[in-house]
């Protein structure tokens, strides 16, 4: 354990999910520690994931308490030994007298554990003793409402962690282009889920083409012990036989610490969406992620500027390998991917199969993705709109960006949303009205129960209608869900206080819907001259 000079308090960080989540947590906490060195940082994580990362975790966290899952769940005959182990584990944490506990793991077990840990304050997800979710901070509310459901979360997971932690957003330095770069690439062709990976034959083809074209290039193929059976496919491939000296098979043979050290002196990471990409980005290495399956590039692209993510649009198709080879070649030569240069060597039909994202830090300090082909659709437009909305509502940060350019079809779809905004606005207005009635009734010396019941039933009805509206207009999902979670987490020492908070939440809801409506109108105006003229006519009348 490290000694913190002039210690002001202890912050407990609960992260009991997997390697990737732990590295993302570390990235966010590293900035927290740099900004608040006088706070002791205690990490609570699973031993199987924390131990192999201890060499970097120790640089940020002052103390680590491990959850030994094997010890807890390997209790064959009775639940009592397991319960005793959990109780000891919690007691161990409670001895640390935490000022704040921040749960950054989004699992049910972590929410129960967070409830059992004693702290003066809590952030992140937790439940009460009736197992009802108790999420107070808005960033965690966003986790419940946007990250865990759907494709409209605009933020990288690390930016959400930073939001929950209260890290000040600072400008990040761009990648420094060194003229004397290493000739080593790290390939990680595996992922925890099969659907996220690519066939080994494709990787063999890519490695072959790259080694043939770049005579001094060395490729390290890294992976865990469970990926070891793939070694033979690379070793026995006829295509790769002439290049075996420049292919380093590190599948199941290198520790995570060794891979990190390798990343420090390499040129580029290429691989599936996995923890190795996160680790390499943490080491400052440029990354190219090849995304398949349920990957959400906006959430998980490795944290750093000029990282790239190639995402298949149609999951039934395969990634065009000529596009992947051309992209890697550009990154070797220029450290950047230019769409115009790609067009010269890759057939347009191959390019159209994918979205190619480039990461950059916005002026406001959020990691953002730019789609190189300029492909904007309703989802990407709404991600921008929600980013503006959430950043302002939660952190008072104003984001300036140019409205997206949309096709006529998309604009018409967007116009179909306008009546839904009006309906939602009316519902919220009713919600505000009935919440206020309840509050006023409660203010009376002897409030009438039947009146309170009647108004409460109206509010339940409004909630149901909102869910109905959300299901028919899914792009409104994040805002409806956000305030549903907010309302479910109302708290107060007495019912009057809770009723008062409900009124305020409806007020916020109403303001945010108005702002969302304005942003959508602006997007339509920018893309549709007739609509712009119609709006200005209406204003003049």
């Amino acid at each position: 354990m490290k000694k913190v000079m002039n210690k002001k308090g202890t912050i407990g960080i609960l992260q009991i999910t997997r390697f990737g989540d732990l590295i993302q947590t570390l990235t966010a906490c590293k900035e927290l520690k740099e900004q608040y060195p006088e706070y002791e940082l205690l990490l609570i994580c699973r031993e199987s994931f924390g131990k192999p990362l201890e060499f970097i975790l120790n640089k940020t966290f002052d103390k680590i308490i491990y959850l030994n899952l094997k010890e807890i769940i390997e209790t064959p005959k009775s639940i009592q030994p397991g319960i005793k182990n959990i109780s000891n584990f919690i007691e161990n944490i409670n001895n640390e007298n935490l000022d704040i506990l921040i749960n950054l793991s989004w699992s049910l077990s972590s929410q129960y554990i967070a409830t059992m840990i004693k702290a003066k304050n809590y952030m992140g997800l937790k439940v009460d003793r009736c197992l009802r979710p108790q999420t107070k901070d808005s960033w965690s509310t966003l986790v419940f409402s946007s990250v865990m459901r759907g494709l409209l979360n605009p933020f990288n997971i690390i930016d959400i962690y930073k939001g929950i932690l209260g890290v000040k957003r600072e400008l990040h330095a761009e990648v420094v282009q060194s003229p004397d770069l290493s000739e080593t690439l790290i390939f990680h062709p595996f992922a925890s889920q099969e659907e996220k990976t690519w066939s080994i034959d494709k990787w063999v083809e890519i490695i072959y083409q790259l080694l043939k074209k770049n005579p001094s290039l060395i490729i390290h193929i890294v992976g865990s012990k469970k990926d070891h059976h793939h070694c033979e496919s690379f070793i026995k491939s006829k295509l790769l036989i002439p290049y075996q000296e420049r292919i380093k098979m590190d599948i199941g043979t290198r520790s995570i610490e060794n891979i990190y050290e390798l990343a420090l002196k390499s040129r580029l990471f290429v691989g599936s969406d996995s923890m190795v990409g996160q680790l390499c980005a943490f080491a400052g290495l440029q990354t190219l992620t090849l995304s398949k399956g349920s990957v959400r590039p906006h959430e998980t692209t490795p944290y750093g500027s000029k990282n790239y993510n190639i995402m298949l649009k149609d999951q039934k198709r395969d990634l065009p390998y000529n596009l992947v080879i051309a992209s890697i070649q550009q990154l070797i030569e220029e450290r950047a991917i230019s769409y115009n240069n790609l067009k010269k060597v890759v057939p347009i039909k191959s390019l159209r199969l994918t979205n190619i994202y480039e990461s950059y830090f916005s002026r406001e300090g959020f990691l953002s993705l730019k789609e190189l082909q300029g492909n904007e659709d309703l989802h990407s437009s709404f991600r921008i709109v929600y980013k503006i909305l959430w950043a302002y509502y939660i952190n008072n940060i104003e984001i300036n960006c140019t409205p997206p350019k949309l096709t006529k079809k998309n604009i018409n779809q967007l116009k179909n949303y306008l009546p839904a905004f009006e309906q939602l606005f009316e519902l919220i207005d009713f919600g505000k009205k009935y919440s206020l009635y309840i509050y006023n009734e409660l203010e009376k010396d002897s409030p009438e129960m039947n009146i309170l019941k009647e108004y409460s039933e109206k509010l339940t009805e409004i909630d149901h209608l909102q869910i109905y509206l959300r299901n028919n207009f899914p792009l409104l999902g994040p805002i409806v869900d956000f305030f549903t979670v907010k309302k479910a987490n109302l708290s107060g020492s007495h019912i009057e206080e809770i009723a008062g908070q409900s009124v305020l939440i409806y007020e916020d809801y109403s303001n945010l819907i108005s702002a969302l409506y304005e942003l959508v109108i602006n997007i339509i105006k920018v893309n549709d001259d007739d609509f712009k003229k119609q709006i200005s006519r209406e204003v003049n009348e």
């Binding site: 009775s78 639940i79 009736c130």
Partner: protein, 45 residues
């Protein structure tokens, strides 16, 4: 079904009944919930 699974199932049924009645769980019951959720998550991985 193992003894552990049977014991856990009985405990969870009792806990669910308490929650339905709006009764708060005690430490021991919360620990059961932690154990059960950890086991579930582990088997899903």
């Amino acid at each position: 079904m193992s003894n552990l699974a049977k014991e856990l199932e009985t405990e969870i049924t009792n806990i669910n009944n308490k929650i339905k009645e709006g009764i708060e769980l005690n430490d021991q019951e919360m620990f059961v919930m932690v154990l059960s959720s950890l086991l579930n998550e582990e088997s899903n991985e």
